[in-house]
């Protein structure tokens, strides 16, 4: 990447992957990727090799989130550099294979862009997940997508955090983008959720095509929600949850949660209130898969990120 007169230049995005089934029971991505494996016309763009790929086929086959361990947490340096072997958990073996095909992570040979398709039981709408606040290419793409789908909204979740950031399957690429669409129950395919994901991807691929043609994208700003803190359910001494997300908070992803607002309701009807210092914006509220990760929701703070102008080298 070189800079001249404040325009950041990136190489053409020639190798793009679309991952589905990283969690085998998140059906929109599984369905879209299988569709495109059979007939990829819809995702073809001039000058781009777009590869649809099922990342966790065993989990997809069993319609379960994972077989041994969460694939979307498995791309740690430790796992990727471990000696390969059949004794490794299935998903760690799979992470190593994916790193070989689409990486190696961090190297010049890695894929340019990977879109990782996910669903959530939370009411997050069409959320884009950004891993780095300094990735101008991704910021410009997200700015483009947000404009393209307006007046519908596309919140951007920034997971850049020393403790809360996790090693995703898409992190193998130079420019990783997560698409998290909900609410949808695990194992269920809802037509509206499926079509929203399809539309967002179309705009994303349009952006890549325009970029590759040489279009310069002027400086822009993107409003994001930066992850702040993981909030667990209240639990008893045996680790069992003793309260549920409060009806006032349920489905209110991206809305302000103020100190004193109801947060949880115990099974016998008592309200537990939020006692943080200031207003936060919760998301991933009541995600099914996060009960075992001790997370009822995650708090975020609003931020505006600036991206410089970009064009292809």
């Amino acid at each position: 990447m070189t800079s001249s007169t404040n325009v950041s230049c990136f190489h053409e995005a020639r190798r793009v992957a679309i991952f589905g089934g990283t969690h085998g029971n998140e059906m929109s991505g599984v369905t879209l990727v299988n569709l495109w494996i059979q007939n990829g016309k819809e995702i073809q763009r001039k000058g781009v090799e777009t590869k649809p790929f099922i990342t966790n086929p065993r989990a997809v086959e069993k319609c379960t989130r994972y077989v041994d361990t969460d694939l979307n947490r498995a791309f740690t340096t430790e796992n990727l550099s471990a000696p390969s072997g059949d004794d490794l958990p299935y998903e760690v073996q799979r992470a190593q294979q994916i790193n070989e095909i689409f990486g190696p992570k961090g190297s010049p040979e890695a894929y340019d862009v990977i879109f990782d398709l996910h669903n959530t039981t939370s009411n997050m709408g069409c959320t884009l997940i950004l891993e780095s606040s300094k990735d101008y290419f991704n910021l410009q793409m997200m700015h483009y997508i947000k404009n393209a789908i307006a007046p519908d909204s596309c919140p951007v979740l920034l997971t850049e955090h020393p403790l809360l950031k996790y090693s995703t399957s898409r992190s193998v690429a130079k420019h990783p983008i997560g698409l998290e669409v909900g609410p949808q129950p695990q194992g269920v395919l809802r037509s509206n959720i499926f079509e929203s994901m399809r539309v967002v991807l179309k705009h994303a691929l349009d952006f890549i095509e325009l970029f590759n043609k040489g279009l310069e994208f002027p400086p822009c700003t993107v409003d994001v929600f930066r992850v702040s803190e993981k909030m667990d359910y209240p639990r008893d001494t045996n680790g069992n949850i003793i309260a549920m997300v409060h009806p006032n908070l349920q489905d209110c992803d991206w809305e302000p949660l103020n100190p004193g607002d109801p947060m949880f309701q115990t099974f016998d009807g008592t309200t537990i209130r939020y006692e943080g210092a200031g207003t936060v914006y919760p998301t991933f509220i009541n995600e099914a898969a996060y009960y075992e990760k001790q997370q009822a929701f995650v708090t975020t703070r609003r931020e505006t990120l600036a991206a410089g102008a970009i064009k292809k080298t």
């Binding site: 269920v188 037509s191 099914a288």
Partner: protein, 312 residues
């Protein structure tokens, strides 16, 4: 109609976790156990987590669907090393809550379920002649106004009745949705709790001699048939999703020509039946593997007789 008198409902059972990932019932039963609720007026209350292994794994079942194991045939089948966990468990539950069809069975079995379908609060049972169940339904329908309350009738003889509630002399399931499996939503939990509270309140009133007047109950739906998803003939994978105009519209009217499915290719598949029917269990997660996209039902109204407890 002639008034009916029936014995007191002295032994009541409340079951949760028959499907291990249907969380309202799991947490409600655990909460009642924590509160040590064992009596309802003069009646005893037995609370059961029906499929503890599935609950522990937060899955619908481990080997086979427990809530299809209560037919006479399966309950009396010999147990071998190859017998699935849920079949053994069904036989254990039959000993605890039944035996099905016998004098020793629980008076009332109430089984708690959730669905990913937008079914509000539905009571499901086998008979349109069971005055206890129908009066409970009427009470719940009158007292709970925050969600639609409906009754679903499965027309099956007792021997073929496959669900756990058939173990009791009187039995029904409480089905509340929509809720994703593996998730507990406070609003859905609160509805289920209210339905259980109303059921136990009715039992207490009935046992203490209250007279319940006869009358009509509406929003009764009788199962007619199921409809599967369009599938690829070679791979058997689904090739369409429930159409947006049908999604979340359980119990609406489905007319000939109305959209049912939206193919991934964009085509619309329309309902081609002759009769106007009511879909329910629309897009229930657990039914994909049973080849069911939704059920269709006929709507009716029932007349129920006055009811009072039989005095000795």
């Amino acid at each position: 109609m002639e008034p009916v008198s029936l014995p007191a409902q002295s032994r009541v059972a409340l079951c949760g976790g028959t499907h291990g990932n249907e969380m309202s019932g799991v947490y409600l039963v655990r909460e009642l156990q924590r509160q040590k609720l064992e009596k309802v007026g003069s009646a005893t209350l037995t609370t059961v987590i029906s499929n503890p292994r599935a609950v522990q794994m937060c899955k619908r079942y481990t080997d086979v669907d427990l809530n299809r194991c209560f037919t006479d045939a399966i309950l009396s089948s010999p147990v071998t090393d190859a017998t699935p966990y849920e079949v053994r468990r069904a036989q254990e539950l039959n000993t605890l809550l039944g035996p099905k069809g016998s004098v020793g069975a629980m008076d009332l079995v109430c089984d708690l379920h959730n669905t990913t379908a937008n079914m509000g609060l539905s009571l499901i049972s086998y008979s349109d002649q069971d005055c206890v169940i129908l009066h409970i339904y009427r009470q719940i329908q009158r007292k709970i106004t925050s969600v639609p309350v409906r009754f679903i009738l499965l027309d099956l003889p007792l021997a073929d009745a496959y669900s756990q509630d058939s173990l009791g002399k009187h039995g029904f399931s409480i089905e509340v949705g929509p809720q994703p499996h593996g998730v507990v939503r406070a609003d859905i939990f609160n509805i289920m709790k209210e339905a259980v509270d109303q059921t136990l309140a009715w039992v207490q009133c009935f046992n203490s001699g209250s007279a319940f007047e006869g009358g009509e109950v509406d929003d009764v739906y009788t199962f007619v048939k199921s409809v599967d998803y369009p599938r690829d003939p070679e791979t058997n994978e689904i090739t369409a999703a429930i159409h947006p105009q049908l999604q979340d519209r359980d119990f609406c009217l489905l007319h000939p020509g109305d959209p049912m499915f939206l193919m991934f290719s964009g085509e619309i598949v329309k309902y081609e039946g002759v009769e106007v029917l009511h879909p329910y269990f629309v897009n229930e997660c657990a039914y994909y593997e049973k080849s069911i996209a939704f059920h269709l039902a006929r709507k009716m109204t029932l007349t129920i007789p006055p009811l009072q407890v039989k005095r000795d």
